[in-house]
């Protein structure tokens, strides 16, 4: 099983390095939920609710480009910026190695 390491900053500022498998076909949103981060994921991964909004402080350039659905959602989100991504649209794979991001999605 191949693994990837990245750093997650929770809403309260606490940071944790996670090690996650890359061969289970999980999205970053699903992985964060599996690690019991508080993410609503209302829409279940369809880029409709933006409750899995994260902002990258490191490693964003390694990530694949946003698809239209992700662009459309981030375009309308009031608190999004250039570092924003939707965790549900990112696969957990080697592109995340060494990345660091903060969880920003709404909790209501």
């Amino acid at each position: 099983m191949s693994m990837v390491k990245f750093t997650v900053e929770d809403r309260d500022g606490s940071k944790q390095e996670l090690e996650a498998p890359t061969d289970m076909g999980l999205s970053l949103m699903e992985t964060l939920k599996a690690f019991e981060y508080n993410i609503m994921a209302t829409c279940g991964g369809m880029a409709l609710c933006a409750t899995c909004h994260v902002k990258f402080s490191r490693g964003q350039e390694q990530l694949p480009d946003k698809n239209d659905a992700e662009w459309d959602m981030l375009d309308t989100l009031p608190d999004a910026d250039e570092s924003s991504r939707l965790a549900c649209q990112l696969r957990v794979d080697e592109n995340l190695e060494g990345a660091e991001f903060k969880i920003c999605g709404d909790l209501e």
Binding site: M40, T42, C43, G44, M46, L48, C49, A50, W71, D72, M73, D75, T76, L77, P78, D79, A80, D81, D106, E108
Partner: protein
């Protein structure tokens, strides 16, 4: 007042199929949906996408599934209130309910089934203080329902999507002054609309403020000014009668959250014996409910509807005995 046995909140695939399961037990259904058409997300968001996990259909387009469900439930003549959102439920003395919508429609029923999926899509609000103070006609509006309201007024729009572009163009013709505040430098929306907005700005017909973020609003009873942070991080002020933030829609539980139901992370907790909620006579099926092992799949919602209707029978026909029958043995009896 509409009178029915079962009022189903949400006309997505799960709400629609629940009509079939109710119909087999001779229970009538009325469905209410905030969207103007049936089908929920399937029709609204991905009508042409194939779905691969409906039993018996190796692949079926979302809209085709909705059309098939409508055909399947036709013998039971369900009735619909579309384009209205359920706001209130009132328990009657005989333990039945009266459901009320935002447009004043009322539905008397014995059982309520919440099949509302993700909830209703509501405007996303920017995180600035005092917004609520100026909502409801005092200067902050999240959609343009009646453009005449903005005639000869000073308007600030915020956002970078299609609706921000479209309303900027429209209101520039009737409002006294239109300012569009956008976080980015470019617009991903329709290129035609973006070009029009840039041209209006060049001609001095609107103010286009790019790389800027809303910071706060001020006023006294009604909105007076909007503050934003410009590209150089300086705070600037615009005089405004109205602020229209257009940051898209996000799914919310809405009024359902006020009905005394046991709710966890915007989902309704149910007893998996019969998908009943903590309120007798109210059930929740499909993506809106939660329980240990929950899977947000259409096929699971179908299953929940079948089980749930067997339980609802006791509220609709308290004096009758329920006997389970197969459609292959008994057929489908229209009523």
């Amino acid at each position: 007042m509409i009178t029915t046995d079962i009022c189903i909140v949400g006309a997505g695939p799960v709400g629609l199929f629940a009509v079939f399961e109710a119909g087999l037990l001779k229970m009538r259904c009325h469905l209410v949906d905030a969207l103007p058409q049936v089908g929920g997300q399937l029709s609204e968001i991905y009508p042409h996408k194939p779905i691969y996990d409906i039993p018996g259909f190796p692949s079926v387009n979302a809209q085709e599934l909705v059309d098939n469900l409508m055909e399947q439930i036709a013998p039971f003549h369900p009735t619909f209130t579309l384009g209205e959102r359920v706001e209130t439920i009132e328990r009657q003395e005989d333990q039945s309910f009266v459901v009320g919508t935002n447009e004043g429609t009322t539905i008397a029923c014995k059982v309520i089934v919440i099949a509302a999926g993700l909830g209703s899509f509501e405007p996303r609000k920017p995180a600035i203080e005092r917004l609520e103070e100026f909502e409801h006609g005092k200067g902050v509006a999240y959609m343009v329902k009646n453009p005449e309201l903005f005639r000869d007024k000073e308007i600030v729009l915020a956002g970078g999507g299609d609706s921000a572009l479209d309303w900027t163009i429209y209101l520039s013709n009737i409002s006294k002054r239109v300012t569009l505040v956008h976080r980015g430098e470019t617009f991903r929306g329709a290129p035609d609309s973006a070009e029009k907005v840039f041209n209006l700005a060049k001609e001095g017909k609107i103010d286009l403020i790019l790389k800027a973020n809303l910071k706060k609003i001020d006023g006294n009873g009604s909105l007076k000014s909007v503050f934003y942070e410009d590209a150089d991080k300086n705070e600037q002020t615009i005089k405004a009668d109205y602020l229209i933030p257009l940051f898209g829609l996000s799914p919310k539980l809405g009024p359902i959250a006020e009905w005394g139901l046991d709710i966890e992370k915007a989902q309704i907790k149910v007893d998996t014996t019969d998908y009943s909620t903590n309120v007798p006579g109210i059930y929740a099926i499909g993506d809106i409910n939660t329980y240990t092992g929950k899977l947000k799949l259409i096929l699971c919602g179908f299953h929940e509807g079948a089980i749930m209707m067997q339980s609802a029978f006791k509220y609709v026909f308290p004096d009758k005995h329920l006997s389970f029958k197969y459609t292959t043995v008994n057929g489908v009896h229209e009523f």
